[in-house]
Amino acid sequence: MIELEGLTKRYGEKLAVDNLTFTVRPGTVTGFLGPNGAGKSTTMRMILGLDHPTAGNVRVDGRRYQELKDPLTYMGALLDAKAVHGGRSAYNHLLCLAQSNGIPDRRVHEVLDTVGLTPVARKKAKGFSLGMSQRLGIAAALLGDPRILMFDEPVNGLDPEGIHWIRGLMKSLAAQGRTVFVSSHLMSEMALTADHLVVIGQGRLLADTSMADFIERNSRCYVRIRTPERERLLDVLSTAGITAVEQDGGLLEVEDGEAERIGELAARHRVVLHELSSRQSSLEEAFMQLTAGSVEYHAHTGQAERAGQAGQTGQAGQAEPAAAPVQPAVADMKKES
């Protein structure tokens, strides 16, 4: 379990992480989603005690990371796959990490096997592709068989087979009861792996919700209709109490409409239809809408106060994706200094 409380990091003028409060729980894959530069890596560095928070704190099972006496057997992390000494072999890289935590040497062979790097174990890391480096980083994270795992954009550079493998790996790690915290800037990736979702933008918490809820709340369902008899159909629909919105190209869209009912109505009134389909807007769209809001409101440079965040999670049932997180933050905007 990882608990963040008001975690804030400022680099000079730049507020990289802004008052983040959330909890990463065991037994699930928690996705950490945000566009590039949102502050995901910075947050992870603070969790690992590498960067000092400007304010707030973060606890790993109730303790600061620096207080862990057996860090690698407690928590494994992949931050930057290319952050290895190029002249060292994969085996020696893992060996020096194992030794630093008193982990038996046989684990090095085991994790090399797990990630499929055994054939190149004695090769220098310099010659590794990004995908192989990611695997080496994952091997390092798994070395201590830790109960908490954290991966920063692990699928970057992996081939489709590798991506498939890592999705399965993360799910199985969580199924064993481990805490799995994984970041990505791709909504589609998160939708496939994460059970729980934490979304940030410009360092601020935008959503902290279960994946199922997020999908339900953010995927807009509508019925799309194409017809040569637009006016007649609009009449028929409005008499039946259905509101259709005219779109570009002569299309009609009905929010949360039932295609069956609309089709039957059209048939009864002998309106010709060229297209009738149930559709769902993509999660990627919902995500972009969510984070676009954070960019827009960032211009005010106000700090989202604690109340703002509480309000945001409190309004979890709202239908409008962007409105819920942003509005309370604006309402509680305080002038700095």
Binding site: T73, G177, A310, G314
Partner: protein, 287 residues
């Protein structure tokens, strides 16, 4: 605390004891683990082997070359001089290698980003630096002792046939163990500098500059009023201090500047101060 309102399917809230328990025995890590790790690191990269190899070649090559030149030259070796003194030149040139290796031990991790992995595996930053320091110091000392020892033996053998005297016990001690300690400390100072600057090329340049600059500057100080400064620069420059280990133990004491084992205490003090500063910086900075 704002926890999510939505119920989580499998999560058991606020129970840290729950979740996965590893079959791997949990070990309370200590300095010994960090030492083993740093030893693996230093021996598993080829640049270490190259730098040390070149170092040994320079010390042996230059040392033996000077010995042979003097043996074969018609002029007799001055009977009163310390015959070990010819080892000085090899070490002076070789100091570039020791400085490079020292700096790379720490700074290269910043260059590659490996330092984040290191500090994640061992969150005690002082422990990491201490382990690096110990491993590097022992490697540098051992290698220097071997090379300087071989050169000293060879030169005594060559020169005593040419009329030079046998070195005294203290001269032996200073010319082998003494210079080895001094060179290892010079490398350790470079290692600490690598941590402070976190930049390989910058730290190497500064350290080589620190070795050479005082002598070069002193050489161009003609002005009478600067005589004292010139003398201090000369006496306390690293080459001059290294040369003190080869001074005649029964020769006349110099009227100013360090003598005897002083250079060792000076560099020890400087390195200790730099080490303390580096530790403070490590604690304070983001990795």
């Amino acid at each position: 605390m704002s926890t999510p309102q939505t119920p989580l399917p499998q999560a058991v809230p606020s129970a840290w004891e729950d979740g996965y328990t590893s079959p791997i025995p949990v070990v309370r890590t200590h300095l010994g683990h960090a030492l083993a790790s740093e030893w693996t690191k230093i021996r598993s990269v080829r640049s270490t082997m190259w730098t040390l190899g070149v170092y040994v070649l320079l010390v042996l090559g230059i040392g033996l070359l000077f010995g042979l030149i003097i043996v074969n030259s018609s002029s007799e070796y001055q009977g009163g001089e310390n015959p070990l003194a010819l080892g000085f030149f090899g070490l002076l040139v070789g100091s570039v290698c020791i400085i490079t290796l020292g700096v790379l031990t720490t700074a290269s991790e910043y260059g590659t980003g490996m330092v984040r992995t290191t500090m994640t595996a061992c969150p005690s930053r002082t422990r990491v630096l201490a382990a690096k320091a110990v491993v590097f110091f022992l490697v540098a000392f051992t290698v220097t002792l071997f090379s300087a020892g071989v050169v000293a033996l060879a030169q005594t053998a060559l020169l005593t046939g040419n009329g030079a005297r046998q070195p005294t016990g203290e001269e032996w001690l200073k010319g082998t163990v003494g210079v080895s300690l001094y060179m290892a400390l010079l490398g350790l100072l470079s290692l600490v500098m690598g941590t402070i600057l976190r930049h390989s090329a910058g730290a190497i340049t500064i350290m080589i500059g620190a070795v050479l600059a005082p002598l070069v500057i002193a050489a161009f100080m003609y002005a009478q009023s600067l005589e004292k400064v010139q003398e201090a620069l000369f006496n306390y420059s690293i080459p001059s201090q290294l040369a003190i280990f080869y001074a005649n133990s029964d020769g006349p004491l110099r009227d100013s500047g360090p003598s005897g084992w002083d250079p060792l205490w000076i560099i020890l003090g400087v390195t200790a101060a730099a080490f303390a500063g580096a530790c403070a910086l490590l604690q304070q900075r983001d990795v």
